[in-house]
């Protein structure tokens, strides 16, 4: 029996069971990232490309050529946020990726920020 060859981007799905590869396989079972990351932490690839990376690491680097949030990387990689954070933390550890945490305050009391937002939203 010949199985069709799967392309790199192909995700094997079973209608009932979901992805055939359990998400935590790609994070080697780890659930805690070594760097504290939030849904809105911004990630950017540095020029470094360490050896011995998994395909998922390469894919994550490719998604972060410009500053990209953890939430977006997770959505594009079709991996749960927790798994994505582990992969991204690996890349920060080996300096292939830099991160900036979102602001520590919400900005809800920052008049200048709110006025800029309002101005920006007027133009839509």
């Amino acid at each position: 029996m010949n199985m069709p060859a799967a392309g790199d981007d192909e995700v094997w799905l079973d209608d009932d069971a979901g992805p055939l590869i359990r998400p935590y396989t790609v994070s080697a079972g780890r659930t805690r990232p070594t760097v504290d990351l939030d849904l809105l932490s911004l990630m950017i690839a540095t020029a470094k490309t360490p050896k011995g990376m998994d395909p998922e690491h390469h894919k994550a680097l490719g998604l972060c050529r410009t500053p990209t949030s953890v939430a977006e990387v997770s959505a594009h990689m079709r991996l749960p946020v927790a798994v994505t954070k582990v992969l991204l933390a690996d890349l920060v550890d080996c300096e292939a990726m830099a991160t900036r945490a979102p602001r520590s305050t919400s900005g809800a009391t920052d008049r200048v920020l709110l006025e800029k937002l309002l101005d920006g939203l007027q133009r839509f």
């Binding site: 949030s69 939430a71 900005g107």
Partner: protein, 192 residues
């Protein structure tokens, strides 16, 4: 390696779009967002409810919640606004704490056919002191209530704005977002 250059990293803010299940949160996020709404999964670990606390054993369960989100880039000011649709199912209410951390504010979408579906969201934001407004999603054929009738039904504080919107329409959803920002500005002391 640390990047602290605001030229490289824009300021990111988030607004939550809440409301009951099926009220149109994903539609709202999609209409306002410049990108197709993205979907991801967050894994949540929570102590299961109903475990006998005297046993001293806290059983943990892990569950997955789907998150829908979109974004609006305000390039001239270097701001990226994220819109997160909150999970509507009641059993995911504990997820909201993490989502609401650092949020600017929230829009509670209401469907006049079943206003009770947004009670929970209203209670949540009131109890956390998160500023919000109620946007009445005007579905085709839904009964039109006066905003003050909605206020009375939801027992909303007089300062909570109520706006009408069409969650399918980009201009209408953006107008609701502007109303929220204006509401937030009224709570910030003016510069002396």
């Amino acid at each position: 390696m640390a990047y602290n250059d605001s030229e490289v990293f824009p300021t990111q803010v988030k607004i939550l779009i809440a409301g009951g299940f099926g009220v149109g949160k994903t539609t709202f996020v999609g209409a306002a967002s410049e990108i197709e709404p993205l979907n991801t999964e967050e894994l949540i670990t929570a102590a299961s409810i109903g475990v006998d606390s005297l046993s001293g054993i806290e059983e943990k369960t892990t569950t997955t919640v789907a998150l829908d989100f979109g974004r609006i880039t305000i390039e001239q000011h270097g701001i990226v606004l994220y819109l997160f649709g909150t999970p509507g199912q009641e059993r995911f209410w504990f997820m909201w704490d993490e989502l609401s951390a650092g949020a600017l504010g929230a829009i509670v979408l209401a469907d006049t056919r079943r206003l009770d579906a947004c009670f929970e969201a209203v209670d949540f934001f009131e109890s956390r002191g998160i500023h919000f407004l109620v946007a009445v999603n005007e579905f085709d054929g839904s009964f039109h209530y006066d905003p003050e009738e909605v206020r009375a039904a939801l027992e909303l504080h007089p300062r909570v704005p109520i706006v009408l919107c069409d969650a399918r329409d980009g201009a209408s959803t953006t107008a609701a977002l502007r109303s929220l920002i204006q509401h937030l500005l009224t709570a910030v002391p003016s510069p002396s």
